[in-house]
Assembly symmetry: C2
Homo-oligomer: 199 residues x 2
Amino acid sequence: MGSKERIQRLKDENRTNILDAALQIVKEEGWQALSMRKIADIIEYTAPMIYEYFANKDAILTELANQGYLLLAKKVKQAKSTETDLEKQLEAMWFSYWDFAFEERELYQLMFGIGTACCGFEKTYKCAESHGKLISDVIREIMKEKNPSEELICRKYFTYWSIIHGLISINLVNQGNGDNTNQEVLKDAIYGITRSLTD
Amino acid sequence: MGSKERIQRLKDENRTNILDAALQIVKEEGWQALSMRKIADIIEYTAPMIYEYFANKDAILTELANQGYLLLAKKVKQAKSTETDLEKQLEAMWFSYWDFAFEERELYQLMFGIGTACCGFEKTYKCAESHGKLISDVIREIMKEKNPSEELICRKYFTYWSIIHGLISINLVNQGNGDNTNQEVLKDAIYGITRSLTD
DNA sequence: GTAAATAATTTAACAGTGTTAAGCAAAAGT
DNA sequence: ACTTTTGCTTAACACTGTTAAATTATTTAC
């Protein structure tokens, strides 16, 4: 019965094909154009087939968002490894966060945008191996001489995130007016908050 | 022909009824529940009637957004009038912005949220009598001894807005976890940027 | 190898969406 | 009184997510 594994492999393939197709549609035509029948078209099945793999459309969305969280965490982790100085690590991590938002703007909108059911902060801050955890670990390390409470670290992370997420949101809606202005604002903001960690 | 005015008055009434109905539905059931037929139900007409007043659903949305901009500008202007000191004016204005976002959260989502077609920054910053203009006027006044360029003022306004909009976005999605933490972050952020105006 | 059972996939349908065209009844103009 | 315009509705189209039934293909049992 080695065919069982072959069948399972095909099923897995279909599952990822569905997710890939969904992302492809969104990248080409935007979130509002995503429909079950369009996904079905691409994977060369009919729409009801998708329900063998996902409970409903929302389940596809949350799965895509989860893929996004994984990818983001990976990139942030990678950015950390490029620096040794803690403050530089933090800067690199936030910059990679920034880059992710624009490289994978559709995913970012899904993960943190207003509209779909996905939350953002709670999930991202508490889950181990998330970018939130990775970044706040560095914040803790930088502040360690001040013996910060977990609540304070959380607040600092929150402050960072607010301004960066705000900047990103604004840039995502009026797509990229004045790139270097943003980069300057971003750098200023990161530097400002980082200074407040040790002062 | 005094009836012409009566008819016009009825038409205007219908128009505002449509907008009111739309906002009512959104407040009760959220944006995704808004439909032309539901609006028609409330105003006791059939759906196609709405197209006599608005080109399409999107036109209703942008009109609502414009109402939002007007209301926001009014509130910000009012906040300014409660203080005489420039820096306090600025703080009060941003606080009223913050309050608006939560008092009229549906409108705020429409005006600045990701998803619908409305942009935010350009429109708000350039239009006279908008909250953006009002706030950046105060920024200019505070910075006047430094002879700031328009570009610098714009960037400062942008910085304020980013962090405040970021904070709001995050609070709108995970609705209000820890109110006073946010207020503290907000106050810190505003103070920090304000200090950077005169330093 | 053929028949029964099971799995895989599709067709048809439901209730909803935005939107447009055709039809009808009442009012207005001549 | 007849025609034209206006206000409004019904019917329809092309979509949407989703479910149930029907069909086809594949596996299992004998």
